[in-house]
């Protein structure tokens, strides 16, 4: 597929992404718009996680913790009266900082240990949010009764409907795509590839492995926190139960199924694993939601065995995953 052809496709998709939700909103299909906006939030999250898993090759099982940190920071600041546009950069900084603190000890661990430790941090975050009432109001969630998440205003326009938030989310998705793309096609991106393929060799070629990993790690955390802040301003309500380990796993499975390391793959993964079940919920009812996780589990197993590079693979990743078939467990 030639480059210009691909650009045409992206342009067409972007146009559809702008126009279709508006049409849906105007024809009264509010719920579908709601779902599409939710897909958008997950896209931001998935793009963030992709930097860690896809580009750097580190399995992160606790990503939801940073989504939670972003959401709760956003909620608390909003309740305190801060404007949305000020909250965003603060949340990004807080998310990045939290990621830095976690990453410092954790990033030197080996693959599966790293995964488990990120899981542990993720669960600790959720448990603290669940129990530290004074801060987070525990399972009762934020905002507390009598408080409100502040409205989002752009100049004098107030965001009230799902469709308004959708365009806001879309803008940030595009930002996320842009940042991911630039990262991928930069020296940093190439350094990440080198680290992913062979960490020791990369170090020997002069790459400061620890620093590069940390940059990637912090960037992904910033994405996650950003998504959280946007989410809480949109939905207006959060509880710690929205940030469980299984949500982190869901995010990982989106990347696995869609194709990690590849921006289009990531977005497709989100569309498949979030968009379709949510819309089917409307027609098939709540029962379907029960089967959703079952299908995800099965999908994860099948994909990782038969097509580990995902539906839309990153070409490089494809080669990596196929080549390492030669390795033994020793």
């Amino acid at each position: 597929m030639t480059r210009s052809f691909r650009l045409w496709i992206y342009g067409a998709l972007l146009l559809l992404a702008i126009v279709i939700p508006l049409v849906l909103h105007l024809s009264g299909n509010f719920y579908v718009v709601h779902v599409i906006a939710l897909v958008g939030v997950y896209c931001i999250l998935a793009l963030g996680l992709n930097v860690t898993i896809g580009y750097t090759g580190l399995l992160d099982l606790g990503f939801m913790a940073f989504y939670a940190i972003g959401a709760y920071t956003g909620a608390l600041l909003s309740i305190a009266g801060l404007s949305f546009w000020l909250i965003l950069p603060v949340t990004i900084v807080v998310g990045g900082l939290a990621r830095y603190l976690v990453g410092a000890p954790v990033l030197r661990l080996r693959g599966d240990y790293l995964a488990i430790v990120t899981l542990a941090f993720g669960e600790i975050t959720r448990l603290v949010l669940n129990n530290y009432d004074e801060l987070s109001n525990g399972p009762k969630g934020l905002p507390r009764v009598g408080e409100k998440i502040g409205a989002v205003n752009l100049f004098s326009f107030q965001f009230t409907e799902d469709i308004h938030f959708y365009y806001l989310i879309l803008a940030f998705v595009l930002l996320g795509v842009f940042v991911s793309y630039r990262m991928e096609h930069s020296r940093l991106g190439r350094a990440l590839v080198a680290i992913r393929e062979d960490e020791l060799a990369a170090e020997l070629t002069g790459i400061n492995v620890a620093r590069v990993k940390m940059i990637a790690f912090v960037t992904s955390g910033a994405f996650g926190a950003l998504a959280g802040a946007i989410y809480v301003h949109w939905i207006g309500f959060i509880t710690p139960e929205a940030f469980t380990f299984w949500e982190s796993v869901l995010l990982v499975s989106m990347l696995v199924v869609g194709g990690m390391g590849n921006i289009s793959g990531v977005l497709l993964g989100v569309l498949i694993l979030v968009g379709i079940p949510e819309v089917l919920r409307a027609s098939l009812g709540s029962k379907f939601v029960d089967y959703r996780m079952l299908l995800f589990g099965a999908a994860m197993i099948l994909v990782i065995i038969f097509r580990p590079q995902g539906i839309i693979p990153s070409r490089r990743r494809s080669r990596e995953l196929k080549e390492t078939g030669q390795e033994t467990v020793q």
Binding site: I9, L13, L16, I20, L24, S27, G28, N29, F30, Y31, V32, H34, I36, N130, N131, D133, G138, P139, K140, G141, V145, G146, D162, I235, G236, F237, T239, E241, A242, S264, L268, L271, I272, G275, I276, V279, L280, R281, A282, S283, G285, S286, V289, D290, I311, I312
Partner: protein, 373 residues
């Protein structure tokens, strides 16, 4: 490949967008409650009460030629799910009102969403007072509230059971913690002693460490604000550790499931419940008989009659305004409804003025009526 995938996805979304619902003579009433999960017994009961109400309304042609349909949703007692379902409901313009939710932790966030599009919400079971303190005109409640329930329980413990040293445990949800706080407030205000105020997690199973510590505080009764799944385990483990004092709880615990989970350890435990038992209300006799006939062998759960009354009340109001959506909320607010539970009228906050409390205790593995206010 990628192109195909994206086109299919977009196509699917568009196709399903077509399911926005068309305008026919179908009037839908939504029921949202936990049909699965740890409080499923209560929710399934609500569903039964609801379905009876819809059937009766259709049989009586309450809305003339229009057919009334039940739209039933499972919120699993999870606030996030409740919010998602609320968004789904406000998008469906055939739904004229919502009966639900059960958990206050679900009703409160969901009510904010219903308020956005003026969809009336009548809850048969959420007892946290804060629900109606939000100032929303579309929120109503046909059951009692925890400020009444909690303080009544406090008085009962002090006056009737004559205990003045209690320990309080709650499940940190708006309902459980709210009820526990009201109880504690009353005990302390009247000079009793609350040895400690402890939170547990919903879904937790191991209370031994907590109960071991509580045992050293020598309470005379343990008050639990929460639901029957945890209550059952707490009373069981309590007795195993030698803390042989009664457990008392509220309507969330009021289910024979509690005794099933706890086994013989639950004998003598108490639960308060909002309202009077239907068996003591003459106007409920017909309902009880029909329920037993329609659902043979099924235990009637505490909120079934409330759900029935709430749904019938909603449809009556809708009929009264000749199916004019805009006047529906005002009609509900001004309604005087005589149903199974007696007369229901709403105060300025949307709460029913019917605020009686009963107390039950476990005898031979089932809840038996004890007395009422």
């Amino acid at each position: 490949m990628k192109l195909a995938g994206i086109i299919v996805s977009v196509g699917l979304l568009l196709a399903l967008a077509g399911c926005g619902g068309t305008g026919e003579q179908v009037v839908k009433v939504a029921l949202v409650c936990p049909l699965t999960g740890d409080i499923a017994a209560h929710g399934q009961g609500m569903k039964r009460g609801f379905e009876m109400a819809i059937e009766d309304a259709n049989a009586a042609h309450k809305l003339g030629a229009a057919k009334i349909e039940a739209a039933i949703f499972d919120d699993r007692g999870d606030p996030k799910e409740a919010v998602t379902i609320a968004n789904q409901i406000i998008s469906d313009r055939a739904i004229i009102g919502v009966i639900g939710h059960l958990n206050s932790g679900c009703s409160i966030p969901a009510s904010r969403i219903y308020e956005k599009r003026n969809v009336p919400m009548i809850t048969p079971a959420s007892t946290n007072p804060k629900l109606t303190m939000q100032g929303y005109k579309n929120v109503f409640r046909v059951c009692g509230t925890d400020d009444v329930q909690g303080s009544w329980a406090g008085n009962y413990v002090l006056d009737t059971l004559k205990y003045n040293q209690v320990v309080v445990v709650h499940d940190k949800t708006p309902y459980g913690q709210g009820l526990a706080e009201e109880f504690q407030k009353q005990i302390v205000a009247r000079g009793g002693i609350v040895t400690s105020f402890n939170g547990i997690d919903q879904g937790e199973k191991d209370f031994k460490a907590l109960l071991t510590r509580i045992k050293t505080e020598n309470p005379q009764v343990l008050f639990f604000g929460g639901l029957y799944a945890e209550a059952g385990l707490i009373t069981k483990q309590m007795k195993e550790l030698g803390l042989a004092v009664p457990l008392m709880g509220g309507d969330g615990m009021f289910s024979n499931e509690f005794a099933r989970i706890a086994g013989p350890a639950s004998e003598g435990d108490f639960a308060t419940m909002v309202g009077l038992p239907p068996s003591k209300l003459p106007q409920a006799a017909d309902f009880l008989a029909r329920y037993a006939a329609k659902y043979p062998g099924q235990d009637m759960q505490p909120y079934d009659p409330y759900t029935y009354d709430a749904a019938t009340l909603l449809l009556d109001a809708y009929a009264k305004v000749n199916q004019n959506r805009d006047s529906l909320i005002a009609a509900i607010a001004g309604t005087t409804y005589d149903g199974i539970l007696g007369r229901t009228t709403f105060d300025e906050r949307g709460d029913t003025r019917n605020k009686q409390i009963s107390i039950y205790h476990i005898k031979d593995g089932r809840f038996a009526y004890y007395e009422h206010k």
